[in-house]
Symmetry: C2
Subunit: 337 residues, 2 copies
Amino acid sequence: MAVTLKDVAERAGVSRSAVSRTFTEGASVSDKTRRKVEKAADELGYSPNALASSLTTGRTKLIGLVSNNFHNPIFLEVFDLFTRGLQDRGLRPLLVNLSHEVDPANSVRMLRQYSVDGVIVASSTLPPSFAKAFRDAGVPVVHSFGRRASMPEVHVVGIDNQECGRMAAQTLIDRGYTRVSFLGGPERATSTQDRLIGFMDVMQGNPGMTVSHSFASEYSFDAGRAEMIRLLTSDPAEAYFCGDDVLSIGALSAVKDAGLSVPGDIGIIGLNDMEMAGWENINLTTIRQPIGEIINSSIELVVATVDKPDRTPEARLFPCRIVERGTLRPPAYPVSP
Amino acid sequence: MAVTLKDVAERAGVSRSAVSRTFTEGASVSDKTRRKVEKAADELGYSPNALASSLTTGRTKLIGLVSNNFHNPIFLEVFDLFTRGLQDRGLRPLLVNLSHEVDPANSVRMLRQYSVDGVIVASSTLPPSFAKAFRDAGVPVVHSFGRRASMPEVHVVGIDNQECGRMAAQTLIDRGYTRVSFLGGPERATSTQDRLIGFMDVMQGNPGMTVSHSFASEYSFDAGRAEMIRLLTSDPAEAYFCGDDVLSIGALSAVKDAGLSVPGDIGIIGLNDMEMAGWENINLTTIRQPIGEIINSSIELVVATVDKPDRTPEARLFPCRIVERGTLRPPAYPVSP
DNA sequence: CCCGTTTTTGCAACCGGTTGCAAAGTGGCG
DNA sequence: CGCCACTTTGCAACCGGTTGCAAAAACGGG
């Protein structure tokens, strides 16, 4: 059925090694044989079996892409960028959908069976120990959107979530809000924990503020909406920092359904700046997370780690910035730059 | 580095075949050796190399998942269902992002290099010839969300887009609209072409109607919005059948920004019933495409085709139905059921 | 034209598994 | 206990490639 090295070798009248060499970078073949081989290969429609060659070279060019969030539209953007970025470098994404699984054992075993060259864990909710399980199994791994650490145990690429919390807090203060709240994602998500820490950090330094917080059950529209509906039943805050754009959009929907106006009655600031945040019927003020840079950097780092597995784990953090749109009232008074 | 069959065999004091057999379904091994082997494997942390075994068995359990739409949120749902469905059957999705590529040659070559057992092309825009290229290369293929055909050249699973067009048309007529329009996706997308055909089909049978149509440049929010902004500049229709929910949502945003009300001034009906269509701030009346059933059926069909490559190509079509929400005015008069 | 150097080539072993086949082992039954 | 049928086991070849090594070929200089 499939045409192999041997078929090409016979047709070209050379040895199998000669054929193999014409298809491997930097191997020693004369122009004459190369032409003969290429001709034969063309005629037979031959292309080398990547899996067979991986046996001896030890490289499959497969990269495991592990994620657990298929309900947040930002992940479509994430998958788009990851798959394109990997393809551009000749790598192939092998997708793993964790759903609600939190034990890494299965994914580790599965990805080892397929001899992936490396793994990218794309999740802002999984703990560092998840990615660590790959490292312990000898699989190069990068945790994208993971928790920062000064001495990380695995490579992490993402943002400083505490800093984002502080940034959101300071923004709300600058806008003159005094009764504020953090509407986070699931309490177990590391990103939510860190954003809360940063938010509270700043708030506690400002005595005049009334501060509260609560958690949505997951990073999704429905969860954000449900939580905001609950909050609106009893003395809501003036402004909310939602732990994610998709929560913000859910919250927005609840606020508007309650007949309240944004930002007139209630202010909302999100985090991510996903595509939808810019849609004119949403127009969400948010903190932009530079996912393109995070993803490119993650790919670059995993590739580097494949070449040099003992690289000491590093944390690459990218700065975030406020994207001003229409869900927060303008500054009450001039703010120092 | 990695622990192999041989290591396990030595430690267990048996032959390599014995080890191989304990790990292959239905092979003949005594309980005694099986236990010895399992113990040794456990101690060494062995798990068989799926790629090496694929060399002899001819099965990799890899399924190529090819798509070209990473801007329509429905595809996040699609990826979620595909990856989970494949995983549940012990298969692994190898993702291919076509971006704007329309030539199948690259994907075919790449997926053959990785010896995928089968391929699922998930796209409502690519022509049947795209999937056909895989079949011609001897790779089992199913086209999900593809174009229906009475004698298809490859397996197709999806909906009858012409029928959906008719359904939308009839619905608008039943609601008493007389000036209507089809706002499609890209003109080259087969789904758009077919929906338009069905829509016109019914309209032409109703002399009282004023009908027009136009195309958005792609299936995305921005394209839908841009097209609707253009339409609003000159004598818009009373109601639009948008070729996709994400177009509808873009269109909705444009309509509302123009200070018009929905469904008061303009009615909109979409197609897909993606998660967001049900969000309370969108609340889109739409035609539900049963993507869960389509995806399960696609997986089942590709698996069956792997076992029996010469199966004659079939088209599996699933019925759609109207999901009534808030963007179309209620029936003007009683409608026969 | 000869000889030393460099390039190209094929052989054969190997990567990590599977599998047909024949030999060895096991069990049942008369 | 002996015979037969059935199960289990190991050997060796194979899957589709790669690669170290030594032989062969090509090249360059005198």
